[in-house]
Amino acid sequence: MGLELNVININDVQFGELTEIKESALYINRSELRDLLLEDERLNKVEIEIAHPGESCRILQVADVVEPRAKIEGPCEDFPGAIGKIGRAGEGKTCVLRGTAVVLNDQSEAHDLSQAEDALGFIIDMSGPAADIHLYGKLHNIVVLPYPAEGVSRDGYRVAMKLASLKTAKYLALAGNELKPDDIEIYETPPLTEITKGMEDLPKVAYIFMVHCTSYPAIPGEPVLYGDNIRLFSPTIIHPNEIFDGAIVNPYDGIGTETYVIQNHPVIKELYRRHGKDLCFVGVILTVSRITEPERERSAMMAANMAKFVLGADGVILTKASSGAPDVDLAQTAQRCEDLGVKPVLIIFDRSNRGEVGEVFNLPGARAIVSTANQYETLHLPAVKRTIGKRVTLPSGRTCGGELDKVFRFIRGGLDQEGITNIASVRY
């Protein structure tokens, strides 16, 4: 299966009369986009704002970040199962607007903001220390602020807002479909029956991708995998291109990941980059974390079985979704792999607080760890001139645009489950 990403580099975003791209600048017909999103009756208002890198601007209550992408050619519609008809992602040509992102603002009541510590939710600063730690502060961000219509349930709104961000991503990228791309990225791997041809001596590496944590309440209609909210999910083999091309949307409760990261999955990218050179990338297994011990054990065992006996992996990289209980799923899956002789390496963010080790597992097979940032390091953020999102005053009296102390965990992108950032937690 071959996927060609036609990358168009965008260096500015403005509102304009037509939605189009001229000389690397994206112009957006704001009212046309707004009308499109308001077709969903669960929303009664949509605001659209633009934030530029370097601006003194803070985006509040960020629920997800999505890279604008649209299919040029291929057997599926965009985000199949979510906003498009169900069809095969990962094949054909997809247009990518690089240098921009759709940032989804969540207008839920403060106590309904998933995983938040306060009414600010997860923030993105477009300048200052918070902008340095992750890509999102460096992109031209199109912020979508959908408002729930009267009487819409909490879950109904959560789905509607998610779909609004995906529709926006598609709508914007369609502007680039006819244009000559600045870069072309090609991702192609054949099925298992052929993949090791010529690579018999290379180490075989697979990736086990935990995409969802099922400890949270199920959100009916929430799209995660091809539009399904994958609750009672057994480990499943999927082609890596499907992940790049919209088959997976980050769950609403999924901290530490955004759809943007999944579209640009760093582990898959790196495995592709080295495929055929010093390793053979034999495949990807999707899992979810489970809530009972027998289910957890079954999932760990099956994922390890697939890695060893179906994909033939010598080594496997594992990442997780959310935190706490899923760390056990992660460690158990790694241990089962180790037991079978498939060498696991885990990517996890550092949960420790003030020197005390935060992890709750210590299994011999789960010790090869690569760390991303420590979640509790505090960044002191300066006051900003502009905020986008629900303006709130915190119980401490601090305003949302004022000076703030935020730990990495509550900065969108500060928590990194898949290893896309260069930040690591280092012990001194």
């Binding site: 400890s215 809530i291 709750v360 597992f361 299994l363």
Partner: protein, 80 residues
């Protein structure tokens, strides 16, 4: 963790937990598998009398664990 400190102070403590690997790893001595993260001693899929019966079985297993003079950690599994 709480169970260990209670034991350390001389109170035999049975921990009913669905995260049995964590409970064992962190050092709880008497670990009884619970029925699920969302309901350690329940199961919403069962009808109420069945559910109560399940709860009773788990609690009785916890009491057996408390009575037992153990030397080291033990996982008090469901019998088949």
């Amino acid at each position: 963790m709480i169970t260990k400190e209670l034991e350390r102070s001389g109170l035999p403590t049975a921990q009913i937990s669905t995260m049995t690997p964590i409970a064992l790893m962190v050092g709880a001595n008497r670990v009884i598998p619970g029925a699920g993260i969302l309901h350690p001693v329940g199961n919403a899929d069962l009808d109420p009398s069945e559910e109560k019966r399940l709860r009773r079985v788990i609690v009785q297993r916890a009491l057996e664990a408390l009575k037992k003079g153990i030397q080291e950690q033990e996982l008090f599994q469901r019998s088949a």
